[in-house]
């Protein structure tokens, strides 16, 4: 803590009641249901999204843990949980052993849940909902009721996905990519549930996206020009556009595949399909690649939906804790716009192995290389922001800093995948798994943790425990790498992903005499990864306890514990309904830390003209 910190916010904190009748909200203290379940307040909705997403993250984590057990100890019953699985899932987990079908279900659902029910709702919906309106000085989202509908659609989608585990035949088993014809030929209704769930989740995202964009365009406070937006808002803005335009084609594809499954159409089924002996009844004439194109047209932009909000959080945290403006704000803005646009024209780099000709391959290799440039620029800006800063290490900052090299690894390993000839070797190996987990797990997840620790005081008026926060960070950091680093080695050696036995069938032990088998050393890594993953799970316990404990017992702090400049820290904590007791006027850029000409280590973006109510004038100049 520097000595020269002033107390902000500049206005005397009005007690909530005052804040209310001030601005003629004639509604009275709402009851539980209207307050926590059917609320249309962006802050409540944000928290709803957040908690639901965290629960799904944990669920997705446990699915993964079961998978890792199966990979390390194929055909051995799961310890502790085995009997429970056998009871709830029946034949698929007979004797507590995870059958290959069940493994595939877990794999598909782990991916689906982590992406669509974990990270997107947390990174985009939760933080976006809570923070964006505060940052731009808006009273709420533009369409509060639609906002509520968006959450309910999301929740319903989650329920559908969850229920699908317990139907006969089990949940979807064709991977989160749901390639046809497999997705249509597996004898379970799980796929239908998956599709219905997806349509609900997509609807939710679309409603959210419309709301975010409209809010950012329409509800910016006076003086909040585009180039004064905190970069986090830019990131959310671009993310919203990606969701708005990339999701509908998947919705279309979902409808088509649903028809294939339910009505016996053949959109994705070619002529002469002979599944398990009998030649299919389907009319044929469809195209399996059509599905892949429609899926990846969303699928790739989706991955930037997973990363951009995370980058936004990291930028906010870094700017705040280096106590200086973020380096190259303009480049950041243009880069994120570039990424958003380019993300729509790289999708087929997931399809090099589908028999792609030279022309198309050239195009997609080029775009894929090009899109890595703005990402590099974004990372570079983050790095250079450290230079000349007065770096303050606290839990949010630790996670933000942890993000950088982790995303670096994940991003850099994307490059060989982008080059078709190298991908020729790496495609569908664990190298891919390692690549994208480095960006989404130690990357995005760390950024999200940073966000939780960073904005927790805004939501509750209390800080989360610093010590346990650091424990959480260091343990997570170590175990994350212990989990994913070995996967690169496995992938390079040719271990295929999505194998319920962790590659035993291709191992030297099982296939004597063959030259290119998986060596025992590589197989052993499976066991290491399992225990690393267990450690990773244990590392989350301090976080979970810390989170709930701090709500009541955390250290009490003022409205602006981090001495931040952005608007979200210059409204009462927690913000009243309507957010700003007095309309703010934005007078400067988002990151005026240690700016020459201001005493104090930071100059808030906003002034609150004392028009009415005679509040104190802003303290500076």
């Amino acid at each position: 803590m520097q000595a020269n910190v002033q107390q902000f916010p500049p206005f005397r904190e009005p007690e909530p009641a005052h804040g209310h009748d001030d601005h003629g909200h004639e509604h009275h203290e709402p009851g539980f249901w209207t307050k926590y379940v059917f609320s249309s307040d962006h802050k409540v909705i944000g928290i709803q999204y957040g908690m639901t997403a965290l629960c799904f993250l944990l669920f997705g984590f446990f699915l993964m843990l079961l998978m890792r057990w199966q990979i390390a100890h194929p055909t051995q019953p799961v310890p502790f949980l085995g009997p429970l699985l056998a009871k709830t899932l029946g034949p698929m987990a007979a004797g507590g052993v995870i059958s290959p079908d069940l493994y595939n279900a877990f794999g598909a659902m782990h991916g689906t849940i982590m992406v669509f029910l974990g990270v997107v709702p947390l990174a985009f919906a939760a933080f976006g909902n809570y923070v964006v309106p505060l940052m731009i000085g808006a009273p709420d989202m533009t369409f509060p009721r639609i906002n509520m509908a968006s959450y309910h659609a999301f929740f319903l989608g989650g329920v559908v996905m969850f229920v699908s585990f317990f139907i006969p035949g089990g949940a979807a088993q064709a991977g989160w990519t749901s390639y046809s014809p497999l997705a249509t030929t597996i004898p379970t209704n799980g796929q239908a549930f998956w599709l219905v769930g997806m349509v609900l989740l997509i609807t939710s995202s679309l409603l959210g996206a419309v709301n975010f964009i409209a809010t950012i365009i329409q509800l910016r406070a006076p003086g909040m020009t585009w180039m004064r937006l905190p970069w986090f808002v830019w990131a959310q803005f671009v993310t919203a556009f990606i969701l708005l335009l990339a999701f509908p084609p998947l919705e279309a594809a979902g409808v088509l595949q649903l028809m294939d499954n339910a009505l016996g159409t053949s959109f994705f089924l070619p002529t002469g399909l002979a599944v398990a002996g009998k030649v299919g009844e389907a009319s044929g004439g469809g195209s399996p690649l059509l599905w892949q194109h429609l899926f990846w047209f969303l699928g790739h932009p989706e991955v930037y939906v997973l990363i951009l909000p995370a980058m936004g959080i990291v930028v906010e945290v870094i700017a705040n804790n280096t106590r200086k403006p973020i380096w190259g704000y303009k480049s950041l803005v243009y880069s994120v716009l570039a990424v958003g646009f380019l993300s729509f024209i790289v999708w087929a780099h997931h399809m090099y192995m589908t028999g792609m000709g030279q022309k198309i391959a050239t195009f997609f290799q080029a775009t894929t290389m090009i899109i890595s440039i703005p990402s590099v620029i974004i990372l570079t800006c983050m790095f250079l922001s450290l230079w000349g800063g007065s770096i303050r290490i606290n839990t949010p900052m630790l996670f933000a800093l942890g993000f950088l090299p982790m995303f670096g690894i994940g991003g850099l390993t994307g490059l060989p995948l982008g080059l078709a000839a190298a991908d020729l070797y790496l495609h569908d190996t664990y190298y891919i798994i390692a690549h994208f987990h480095y960006v989404v797990a130690p990357g995005t997840l760390f950024a999200l943790f940073a966000g939780v620790y960073f904005w927790f005081p805004k939501m509750t008026g209390r800080k989360m425990n610093e010590f346990w926060g650091r424990v959480h960070f260091w343990c997570s950091f170590v175990f994350m790498n212990l989990v994913f680093m070995p996967m690169f080695a496995q992938g390079i050696k040719g271990m295929i992903r999505r194998m319920s036995d962790g590659g035993v069938n291709y191992s030297a032990a099982r296939v004597p005499g063959a030259i290119d088998t998986l060596p025992g050393s590589v197989m052993e890594l499976n066991t290491w990864i399992l225990w690393a993953a267990v450690g990773l799970g244990l590392a989350q316990i301090p976080f979970i306890i810390n989170l709930f404990w701090s709500i009541k017992h955390g250290e009490k702090v003022g409205t602006n514990p981090w001495q931040a400049t952005t608007l979200d820290w210059h409204t009462p904590t927690p913000p009243p309904h309507g957010n700003f007791p007095k309309a703010p006027r934005i007078v400067r850029g988002p990151y005026e830390y240690n700016a020459p000409g201001f005493e104090g280590s930071f100059a808030p973006q906003a002034e609150f003209p004392a028009a009415d109510h005679g509040h104190a004038q802003p303290a500076h100049h």
């Binding site: 002529t271 800063g389 850099l412 295929i496």
Partner: protein, 263 residues
């Protein structure tokens, strides 16, 4: 140098095909670039964190870095990526999908993937595949061979087990699938190709080492995906190959004498 890095640092498995070397080289070059970037960045990163910690730097410098270094680095990265892309990756892929050897001087095999194994088909002595039609596909007739066509009479057809190819002689495989999408992966040949129902995709490689290699199914194809490990490519000398082919022909003849069937 490259190979040392490929085998000992990256840990690539040994290769056994003509086209494998360039692919490994590409891998190596990309990873050099990645390594340099990563090390460079991390070094800077650690220094910055140490140098500009609030204990050492109580008041932040509003201006921050004014060095034009980053611009140069960006440019270098762009150039490096451009070189990799235009200089190596694109031509290599072109070679991979466009330059096919003359079928007469190659071992030509049809491969039809199914849940959960591989079906192989050789043209037989007459070097002539029987005409095929997707509509004729059935459990007995996986390739949908037209029984009326004499060209198909001596075709050799196998399920799983070993397919034999000749060392140093190009192999052309026409890959397809009868049910769901599979993927034909030969690690040592640095070869991967999805097997997609309704499509017939050619792929080629030239084995250079005698031995037995396993075919991995690299695409999720259902409950048996991980167990779809029954296929092998046996690379052997021309003589051994001919001997093997003869024995297969004999089997076919015997079968033809009896009721036509592929078992």
């Amino acid at each position: 140098m490259n190979d040392w890095f490929a085998y000992h640092i990256l840990g690539l498995p040994e290769r056994a095909a003509l086209g494998a070397k360039p692919i490994d080289d590409l891998m190596v070059w990309v990873h050099y670039l990645m390594l340099v970037l990563f090390v460079g960045w991390v070094a800077y990163f650690c220094y910055a964190l140490w140098r500009f910690n609030e204990r050492r730097n109580a008041k932040a410098n509003y201006g921050g870095s004014t060095s034009s270094m980053p611009k140069y680095i960006e440019v270098i990265i762009v150039v490096a990526e451009a070189v990799l892309l235009l200089g190596i990756a694109i031509p290599l892929w072109g070679k991979n999908v466009q330059e096919f050897p003359d079928p007469k001087s190659a071992t030509v095999i049809q491969v039809m993937a199914q849940q959960f194994g591989w079906n192989y088909r050789y043209a037989g002595l007459d070097g002539q595949f029987g005409t095929q039609d997707m509509k004729l596909i059935s459990e007995k007739n996986i390739f949908g061979v037209d029984p009326k066509d004499p060209g198909g009479k001596d075709d050799v057809q196998l399920y799983n087990g070993n397919i034999h190819v000749v060392v140093d002689k190009p192999v052309i495989i026409y890959l397809s699938s009868k049910d769901v999408i599979h993927s034909f992966k030969l690690v040592a040949m640095r070869m991967t190709q999805d097997a997609i129902p309704g499509l017939r995709i050619p792929l080629t490689f030239t084995p250079t080492k005698i031995g037995r290699y396993q075919i991995e199914c690299a695409q999720l194809c259902g409950g048996g995906h991980s167990a779809m490990a029954g296929g092998f490519v046996v690379v052997e000398s021309q003589d051994d190959f001919d001997a093997w082919m003869k024995s297969q022909e004999a089997k076919v003849a015997a079968a033809a004498a009896g009721p036509q069937s592929f078992e």
